[in-house]
Symmetry: C2
Subunit: 224 residues, 2 copies
């Protein structure tokens, strides 16, 4: 029997949650190997072989290892093409053009949405968990940057149901972890819920069974 698919890192991490959501959409069974970052396990020699920057997540299946959450998601879609959600990384018949429509919004997430949203999440959700002081100036600067990105998103989601067109895809999925933190674990939910098209999109995508399962995993008590 093939070794199971393993995702390394705590699922509360947005980047780990991104990969878990992809595996659930693709109906690929997997196990989570939590990496105890409070004990510096992400900087251990064995982990650095999987992820040379000492970050989570890392990924392993019977064929290879991969790091960087968005690279892992692409790999899962390509390697497990016949499983689960068949439109997640573009329908075969849509070819390179269909995939590009998805890729441009995955890149927008990585380049434009993630930096300010992650900075806000860090300050308002993770810093308190870690006993650190929240820097409200950082929150304010990043809220201004994020608002401009979300204005573009709201316009886009007024033109089509999902970022890349009529189907839920990786373009939507990559946004879920940070969006969920903003809405459910900070006082900045309005950034999403007060923009009409973005709010409609959020109600839809956050209700998907795969994402609901991820949030259950995030809320479950950590194994002792």
């Amino acid at each position: 029997m093939a070794a199971p698919v393993t995702v390394y890192g705590p699922v509360i991490s947005p980047a780990v949650a991104r990969v878990a959501a992809c595996l659930l959409e693709k109906d690929v069974p997997f196990q989570i190997e939590p990496v105890d970052m409070s004990k510096g396990k992400h900087k251990s020699p064995s982990f650095l072989k999987l992820q040379p920057f000492g970050q989570v997540p890392a990924f392993k299946d019977h064929l290879t290892t991969v790091f960087e959450s968005r690279a892992i998601c692409r790999y899962i879609c390509d390697q497990y093409a016949d499983r689960g959600n068949q439109a997640l990384f573009g329908k075969k018949e849509d070819g390179a053009v269909g995939r590009a429509a998805i890729e441009q919004w995955i890149e927008s997430e990585g380049q434009s949405f993630n930096p300010p949203s992650l900075a806000i999440i860090f300050q308002l959700a993770f810093a308190p968990m870690m006993g650190r002081t929240t820097d409200l100036a950082v929150v304010g600067q990043n809220e201004a940057k994020l608002a401009k990105v979300l204005d573009v998103y709201d316009q886009r989601l007024g033109e089509s149901q999902y970022f890349a067109g009529d189907d839920f895809s990786l373009a939507d999925l990559v946004h879920l972890p940070n969006a969920d933190f903003l809405v459910n674990r900070t006082n900045k939910a309005g950034l999403i819920t007060e923009r009409k098209n973005l709010a409609r999109w959020w109600d839809d995508v956050s209700a998907r069974p795969a994402w609901k399962k991820v949030t259950e995993m995030q809320s479950a008590p950590r194994p002792s």
Copy 2:
């Protein structure tokens, strides 16, 4: 005759240069449509239809439009698979595993290398061109961040000739624009040239005909 492939944006922009390098590697003829950012043309309604964030580059061929430089590079490789460099986005026989080996380093570039290197380039190369004061504190902070990334890169390039293995690929190509600026247009060349494996890699990849052609385009007088 099909409409020509068009790249929108000034080729001095690192992200525009990234796309030009990819088209040259793939031997796809193209034209550059400079977007006069000093006149705000990147915020015009017609440009925002191509690139909703008002950034360069944007891309158009006879089939579609795409934005975000790394998304455009992936599209060029997929759509023009039979042209030019056949290994650029992974050899067919290497399948999803080969592509993942490339993707994880494209993502490292976008997430880890680009932010600090672009900040340094902006302060040391673009700010003077624009008559703005260089903020040396920003340079110092980002140099410290970039050094950590380059230490990982130097180790990686001690294990294999290129980021993803034995072949030059998009994983290498996406790094070229910022690396060239650092080496040739700032006083921070040592970040790359004083790391043994990275220096060996840089001598190799920067001598590729496609990249040399891009730097010629960048140095050419702008059309009046």
